[in-house]
């Protein structure tokens, strides 16, 4: 019994592809990389609205959401996801993102509550390490 209680459950991450763009190479690589690192990974597939992503995150009881976007719609979509999470009382789910995000947008996205943004050049290991340090399984 004691051993079971102290055993932490695995970190659960939702990798989500919001918006209409079909560039899912990065999202799939990171989903695989996280799975290989021992996380539980749920991948939404493409073309998800912010509403669908938040619903999936709550239903799957995830600890973090990784948003991948390459169409330039990040300035609308990222804050929208955060707002919807707040509305559902789920703002303890950590939101992070990756994709093509110009430097001048990074600050404002972080200001709106995105915990980290992984831009081109990030290795899988770096992303895994960040998740381990910043996302804990929620109770």
């Amino acid at each position: 019994m004691i051993a079971e209680e102290s055993m932490e459950r695995k970190i659960r991450i939702l990798i989500a592809k919001p918006g209409l763009d079909g560039h899912d190479r990065g999202a799939k690589i990171i989903a695989r990389g996280f799975r290989d690192a021992g996380f539980e990974v749920i991948y939404t597939g493409l073309h998800q609205t912010p509403e669908q992503i938040v619903a999936a995150a709550i239903q799957e009881d995830v600890d973090g959401i990784g948003l991948s976007i390459l169409s330039g719609a990040h300035d609308y979509i990222f804050p929208q996801v955060i707002q919807l999470l707040q509305g559902k009382g789920a703002s303890d789910i950590v939101v992070f993102g990756g994709g093509i995000i110009p430097e001048e947008d990074i600050l404002s996205l972080k200001g709106s509550g995105v915990k980290a943004l992984f831009v081109p050049g990030t290795t899988i290991e770096e992303a895994v390490k960040w998740v381990r340090e910043n996302i804990k399984p929620r109770k």
């Binding site: 209409l20 695989r32 597939g45 719609a73 081109p120």
Partner: protein, 557 residues
Amino acid sequence: MFKEDQLKKVQEEKKKWGGDLSKMLSETPERLPRFTTVSDLEIKGLYTPEDIKGLDYSREVGFPGVFPFTRGVQPSMYRGRLWTMRMFSGLGGPEETNKRFHYLLNHGETGLSIAFHYPTLMGYDSDSPNARGEIGKCGVAVDTLKDMEILFEGIPLDKVTTSMTINPPASILLAMYIVMAEKQGVSKKEIGGTIQNDMLKEFIAQKTFMLPPRPSLRIIVDTIEYCTKEVPRWNTISISGYHIREAGATAVQELAFTLADGIAYVDAAMERGLDVDDFAPRLSFFFDSHIDFFEEIAKYRAARRIWANVMKERFMAKKPRSWMLRFHTQTAGCSLTAQQPFNNVVRTAYEALAAVLGGTQSLHTNSLDETYAIPTEEAVTIALRTQQILAEETGVTNTIDPLAGSYFVEALTNEMEEKAWDYIRKIDEMGGMVKAIERGYPQMEIAEAAYRFQRQMDANEKVTVGVNKYVTDHPPITIWRMRPEIEERQLKRLQEVKRTRNNGKVKECLGEIRKASQNGENLIPHIINAVREYTTIQEICDVWREVYGRYTDPGYF
């Protein structure tokens, strides 16, 4: 290709060289344990006549313009006519894009290529909730014929050909182009251009999908059938490897999956009862030009040879034009880096050179800032000038297929061909590409290759300058930004069009499309009637989504 005694001599000399080499390597070993292409294909240190000893010049290499077209599809290639310089362009609304078209044509571009924004690509109008945040960003917003009219203002459609990267709503955009040209006084018999119209690679790689594979294929065959009779100068499909490669495929996978898609389209059109020699001459292809120079050149040469054989042997086509694989090339977007973006000019130049040495019919060169956004005018000018320097300064256009006969290039061409056939046979065994896609086969093969490449990058086994080697900071560059007033203007125009058109007629036309969608009658004449009445793209696509259902991403990873 070689006499026996010649080969024997080569073998002896090679043995001696091998001995000397081993001695040298015991003191100074080679830099790397394996030398590989970007696709992880192992390359030997030296190629000799031995590597192509079985090559039959007349049967496998031959002459340009002659079966199997390994050396090119035209007898004179670039000595007769240069490739078409066709820059993929679309930004903001039709006004901004029209201005870019004129700018590029004035700077020596020789063909147009439209990039549509995501809502158009996916069959949504600008006023759809799905379009939020996306309007005008990755291409031009087009909702109705009105937008097409503005887009082509002052552009002579009897002189310029246009390529449209559009897939689920390809038939609708083609219909708009036909009606817009007609309004300019140019008939559908005269217009020339291409619609991408290749849904199979959407399921495999680019992922702008809307309907399930089978109804998607049906609409494509409608387009092929209609254009074969009515729009004779139009390329009805651009069977694309580009997106397959960009999604992470190897060069061999790009080659094999693209040609397997091509086979599926020919099968589908023949099932409809079309004569292969009527439609095959208007099939066109589109490949990536990635950073691994010789692998790309070998890929193009192998592609022509395989396709010629497929058309002649498998489909029994009789016209030489049906055997020809004509293709457009785009330099590899995925080889570009956001870091140290000026290096992208160099990458693009090498990739463009590979495409030209591989005998492309038309070329888009990426701009240095395209990892971030639509290119600025300054960046796109450098990209266009890269092609012009290649065409008019470097001398590479003076002779046809100059790398033919290279032991390495011929051996690599053979190797790519054999490996591609292995895949094609495997897909045949699965029952063809549609079945393979339904099983997720090409999708998983690509995801696997993409992951392997990323792992190799992370382990520094593969190098990208500025990313995992020679990493230095660079100041940010100025990038193109979508202005919010463009979105407002687009929404206002759409509203205005919907208010002033004959809505009764629109409804009637949509009814006809629904009927034809259900009873199997060719859809294209009905789509032409509908767009003429300013029916929107989404209004037509909504009918299809209702009749056929949507395709959603199975999310293989």
